[in-house]
């Protein structure tokens, strides 16, 4: 019966460990920050973490006064892991508010969990529009953007200011690029565009020769994607010499996220649109950037995920502050009232659905002090997640997909 004894001893000790780990309940307020700090998307998660750390440092006195602690969690960029970490936050670590997730799929998984749990949540960089549209929840707001939001401005800019009529769009075949395409086409076609021909390729494609060799003619090519796919496309596009025939425009993440040094000087002049630009010259941006560099070193440029993490954390702290403690309903109400007149990206407030109404910048890649940066050349103010459209009308319409909205701008849809 030696075995039985071992079994009893081990199960008792396991239970004791479990019980000890489970004791945690006091009046400390805890903010849990979740993002992919390992895995292929760790760039985004690290940026968010650095932004939050900066906000923590700036708000140190306030955090102490309100008795707020911060914990970081790694989502690994995986929906299931995200849900698991969120559960740990709620029932193991006694977290009172969540900042994150960062990526599209993890954001939707987080939303689904938050609906069930009622946890006040400030989504940071994660951009699926339904988080603050068709699937919105009272306790979930967003500090960032929807995929279509910056593209509403870009579509109009490309049609009106650049005068392009026919766009060839090559993009990664998943929902975020569909949403970017949708935003672009809905304004482009109504501002004088003629057609947008979409070519989708699977994510992880490294050879674009078959696409480039048969590229239809147009006034410009828009690469609707990012990451290593975007970089490969960019290089092959220039290797094929197509840049001499058609200029290359970018989706929101194309020139913005980390690839500029590898793209090199050929990227200069590249246009894209985002609610953020690391070439902003406003005082609030410069002080944010300088503090960020002082903290993390000036070889790391603070990009949109960092600013969104920074801002999301500030939203959370000010919600705790005005709710005067941890009462959930009051914190949620305060979050939904958020106004940020001096965010680094520019002023914004949340619409009634919980998404920022903010500046969209048309950015041009320029060389500034020996670095390639996105410099805003045109600002569209107060752009909401519905762009120029009425919320009810937009929500009643079909969600963007692989082949919606229609390619041909003369389609009755655009009337």
């Amino acid at each position: 019966m030696k075995y039985t004894k071992t079994l009893i001893v081990s199960s008792v000790s396991a239970l004791a460990v479990g019980a000890a780990a489970h004791l945690q309940a006091d009046d400390t307020l805890r903010i849990g920050v979740i993002g992919p700090t390992t895995g292929v998307f760790s760039f985004f998660g690290e940026q968010q973490r650095m932004g939050v750390e900066l906000a923590q440092e700036e708000l140190a006195d306030q955090l102490e006064a309100l008795n707020i602690e911060v914990e970081f969690y790694d989502s690994q960029g995986d929906a299931e892991t995200t849900v698991d970490r969120l559960r740990a936050m709620e029932s193991r670590d006694d977290i009172d508010l969540v900042v994150g997730p960062v990526l599209g799929g993890t954001g939707l998984a987080g939303l689904e969990w938050a609906k069930g749990s009622g946890m006040p949540t400030v989504i940071s960089y994660s951009a699926p529009e339904d988080i603050t549209m068709r699937d919105r929840a009272e306790n979930v707001v967003r500090a960032g953007w929807t995929g279509a939001q910056p593209m509403f401005a870009f579509g109009e800019y490309v049609a009106k200011e650049l005068g392009y009529k026919r766009i060839v769009m090559v993009g990664q075949d998943y929902s975020f690029p569909y949403n970017q395409a949708g935003g672009f086409m809905k304004t482009f076609c109504r501002a004088g565009g003629e057609s947008v021909e979409r070519i989708w390729h699977p994510t992880g494609t490294s050879d674009y020769s078959s696409i480039l060799a048969t590229l239809p003619d147009g006034d410009a090519v828009l690469y609707n994607g990012a990451g290593s796919d975007g970089l490969a496309f960019f290089q092959q596009y220039h290797d094929f010499g197509i840049d001499a025939r058609m200029p290359l425009l970018g989706g929101s993440n194309f020139f913005a996220v980390g690839n500029l040094p590898e793209m090199g000087d050929q990227a200069i002049g590249g246009l894209s649109a985002l609610q953020y630009a690391e070439g902003l010259e406003s005082d609030s941006f410069l002080s944010f950037r300088d503090a960020f560099w002082a903290m993390h070193g000036d070889e790391v440029m603070p990009l949109a995920p960092a600013e969104h993490g920074y801002v999301a954390f500030k939203m959370a702290v000010s919600a705790f502050d005005s709710a005067n403690g941890g009462d959930r309903d009051e914190v949620i109400a305060a979050l939904r009232e958020t106004e940020m007149p001096d965010a680094p990206r520019g002023p914004f407030h949340l619409d009634e659905y919980g998404n920022p109404v903010q500046n969209i910048y048309i950015n041009e890649v320029q060389e500034v002090d020996g670095r390639l940066v996105n410099v805003p050349i045109r600002t569209y103010e107060n752009v909401s997640q519905f762009g120029p459209f009425e919320a009810e009308e937009y929500l009643a319409g079909e969600p963007d997909s692989r082949d919606f909205p229609p390619s041909d701008c003369s389609d009755p849809y655009y009337d």
Binding site: Y3, T4, L7, S11, L15, G18, A19, H22, T37, T38, Y73, D74, D78, A79, E80, V83, D84, R85, R87, A88, E90, S91, R92, G104, G105, L108, A109, L111, E112, W113, G116, P128, D130, D135, D173, Y174, S175, F176, Y178, P202, T203, S401, R402
Partner: protein, 322 residues
């Protein structure tokens, strides 16, 4: 045999005590562990009995999960019907996959299941109209029956535990049934089994379909546990995770996969609390345990446990077929 009954009793007692003593998170982790234990059992049924290493068992779980999500959320069918149809469809896809793979061996089997698994994964990613693509399908919830919310962590635990224990008990019987012995026999000497007049191909095929159905059960629980179905559980990472758990615990024994899953989940949860480099730590633990216990933890425990008892014929201690 007495010892085994004692072990079963102890496991059941621990499973009953767990939700009474532990917090919500520990219960939620136990739910995940049991779901993956089923997936790892499905893997081990093929790997341990037949020497067939499959990389598509999580795919069956995924097919089942997507069926639940699509029929339940998009078409709003009632919960019991959704589950029934999900299991039927998964079994049906296991039949198709089984027909394609039944004649292959070792590496070619591994490659075939890899290809099939990746095809379904790609399909789930790109067939946006049906699967929702990368975003997946959200809002997969169990119903509330007469004021009892089946989504509640502890009620969910009761359901998962009941089904998991039942399936493990059934497999315990099956492993020592003539069918289970036939599978082992096929792994050890296929030609002899054929010469003895056993329907080798049919036995293989049945085992494959059975393993698929078990993974289907795991998939049903997985999707209700997550509340959202996205392509990520069908990815290669999850298939390899299940394989790792099964190898760590010992895929030749019945409880090995469950032990492996429990260890991996505990490790991930504990180590991830302290460092972002948790994969390094877990990798190191895996490396050491596979070097020191190439046949898995369960068999090391079993050897110790059996040393003092008189030798007995056991289907789980075969040393051949390596």
């Amino acid at each position: 045999m007495k010892r085994e009954h004692l072990l079963i009793l102890a496991i059941v007692a621990a499973l009953v005590a767990w939700p009474l003593l532990m917090g919500n998170y520990a219960v939620a982790q136990a739910n995940r562990a049991m779901i993956y234990a089923l997936a790892a059992l499905s893997f081990s049924l093929l790997a341990g009995r037949l020497g067939w290493f499959s990389l598509c068992q999580t795919t069956f779980a995924g097919i089942s999960g997507y069926t639940v999500a699509i029929l339940g959320v998009r078409y709003g069918l009632p919960f019991p019907l959704v589950v029934l149809l999900a299991l039927l469809l998964t079994t049906f896809s296991a039949v198709i996959f089984g027909l394609l793979t039944v004649r292959s061996r070792k590496v070619s089997f591994l490659m075939l299941t890899l290809a099939l698994g990746q095809m379904v994964w790609a399909l789930s990613f790109q067939w946006v109209d049906v699967t929702g693509g990368y975003n997946g399908i959200a809002g997969v919830r169990m119903p509330v029956y007469g004021g009892v919310d089946l989504n509640d962590t502890r009620i969910f635990y009761v359901m998962v535990t009941t089904v998991t224990v039942a399936i493990f008990l059934a497999m315990w019987r099956l492993y020592r049934s003539p069918f289970g012995l036939l599978l082992l026999g096929i792994q050890e000497n296929e030609q002899r089994m054929r010469a003895l007049g056993h329907p080798v191909a049919l036995a293989r095929f049945s085992a494959f379909v059975l393993a698929g159905a078990i993974a289907g059960v795991a998939g049903v629980f997985l999707v209700y546990d997550m509340g959202i179905m996205s392509p990520s559980p069908l990815g290669l990472g999850h298939a390899v995770w299940v394989l790792t758990a099964a190898v760590l615990g010992g895929y030749r024994s019945l409880l090995g996969p469950a032990i492996g899953v429990a260890i991996l989940i505990t490790l991930e949860t504990l180590v991830a609390q302290y460092t972002d480099r948790h994969m390094m730590v877990i990798g190191l633990v895996l490396l050491l345990s596979i070097l020191l216990m190439p046949r898995g933890l369960a068999e090391v425990l079993e050897q110790r446990f059996k040393r003092k008892s008189k030798p007995q014929a056991s289907v789980t201690t075969t040393t051949r077929g390596e």
